[in-house]
Amino acid sequence: MPDVDALLVVEEVAKSFGGVHAVDGASFRVPRGSLTGMIGPNGAGKSTVLSMIAGAVAPDRGSIRLDGQEIAGLPSPKTARRGVIRTFQNASVFPHMTVLENLLLGVPPWSGETVAAALFRRHRWHREEAQQVSQARNLLERLGISGMADTFAGQLSGGQKRLVEIGRAMMSRPKLLLLDEPMAGVSRTLAPVIEALIADLRNEGMTVVLIEHELALVERLCSPVVVLAQGRVLMQGEMQEARANPEVRKAYLVG
């Protein structure tokens, strides 16, 4: 699909761990403003691809371009500062910090976070922080957990942690949001809430990559989808095409 305006272009990335090819030359593009699903059987290399985009794992080869700029191999703090924000397969919060503080850490690094500013420019960051706190409160309201602003994140249920994690990512207004199985560890009551949230993000025009194994959910949310199997991209297209594609069907049954 050379004609789509791609925010992210992944070309021929590969990564092996101790001789096992986890990702073996995967290429795909993420159109700007899309909610791209990434699916495939267990061990297809989805999480590794995501970690490479996020900078947590350096690819052995290949190129990853964000807005035309190469980001492959950048360490994860730098990738994050370019606007690529991820969530983790196990909802990853700061357990001994309050929910509100968790969200405040989602704000991109700002002036109050240097030693000098912390000591000598309190007025300035106080003002900035006030704005961020009210933003965070609005977001908590929207997530439906405003009553938990002062609760330690470690005390929340799996689904609530997930909400906090996604909320933290939203605070940063990312260019590209990477969600790694956001439904894992989420109770049945909260799953629809998270699904609606992801749908909202798509409707607001955020570019999102979503790894998910529940295909019905992917079908409802994602367009296009990228199908991975054994470290390679089987196809990129719409979910219906994927379902009809015999190779994809076989990959799922064969594993």
């Binding site: 360490p75 500062r81 001994h96 910090m97 309050t98 850490l105 991109p108």
Partner: protein, 337 residues
Amino acid sequence: MSAGTQYYIATILVYISVNAIASWGLDLQFGVTGVLNFAFILFQAVGAYTAAMLSLGPPSSNGGFQHYPFGVHLPFPVPIIGAMLVGGALSGIVGLITLRRLRSDYQAMVMLVVSVVATVVIESVIGLANGSAGLSLIPNPAHTISGVSRTAQSWLFVGICWLCMVLVGVIMYGLVYSPYGRVLRGTRENEAAIEAMGRDATRARMQVFVIGGAFGALSGALLAEFIGAWAPSDWLYPETFVFFTAVIVGGRGSVSGVAIGAALVCVGVQQAVQYLPIGSDPTVLASLEWIITGLLTMLFLWMRPQGLLPERRRRFSIPELRKLPAVGSEGAVELDA
């Protein structure tokens, strides 16, 4: 009050402030940021030796019985500031080697070893800091003021120490209760997540290593000037453990808690032991201090791991309640603290 009592109280006050400063330095590293620095006492020692050499004058002074590479006679507060700079710089060097190259589990062990090695080196290379005899006759800045009584001089030094403590305390509050402190705590809580949010965890650790090292050095400088002497037996590696106990007992990450912990563990235990009906054999008393320190650590880790005064939960006030109708500016939100 008799001069003796006054001197006793002044001594206690000096020890409280010095230990609070040092414990805060370790708390910034271990309590707030999660760096397990088993070499902390080394930076106190560096501060003490630096302050000594910056105030003793050249090695040939005082009859030349002490051996050290160089010395100058600088006025207060230059030796103290110099001690902080050297302590911070050395901390930075040790940090560069251990924090950047090694995984956190190895870091602790290497720090422990660095601490031991430093003691051995100073003890055996006499020229560095007069070996195991240590440096003595370190001038106390308060004693240079003539025309006042010895007691007044003691109180003056207490003032200097407490001024330093207040300054360090203010800096601690400033750092810990700020967005910067939030990044430090995030580093402690979840390194992968903080890096995924665009913060550099290694850089944060390096910074607290340098700042904490400078605090440690400051405490050492004050201590050396107060005692007038400083030797390797003052900074054997188990001494670091006392500060760990102070931080654990007071409350990891809690600025006021750690100050209380320092007063209780570093000063209180020592004083309490004196009043126990077990005689006055100094070895027994010293041993008892260590035993109590060890027991306190285990007791707190079992019963109250968050410490006496736990790290404060940051609450932010809700804007609607505070907003005054006429002002109409953006929501006035402040730290509840």
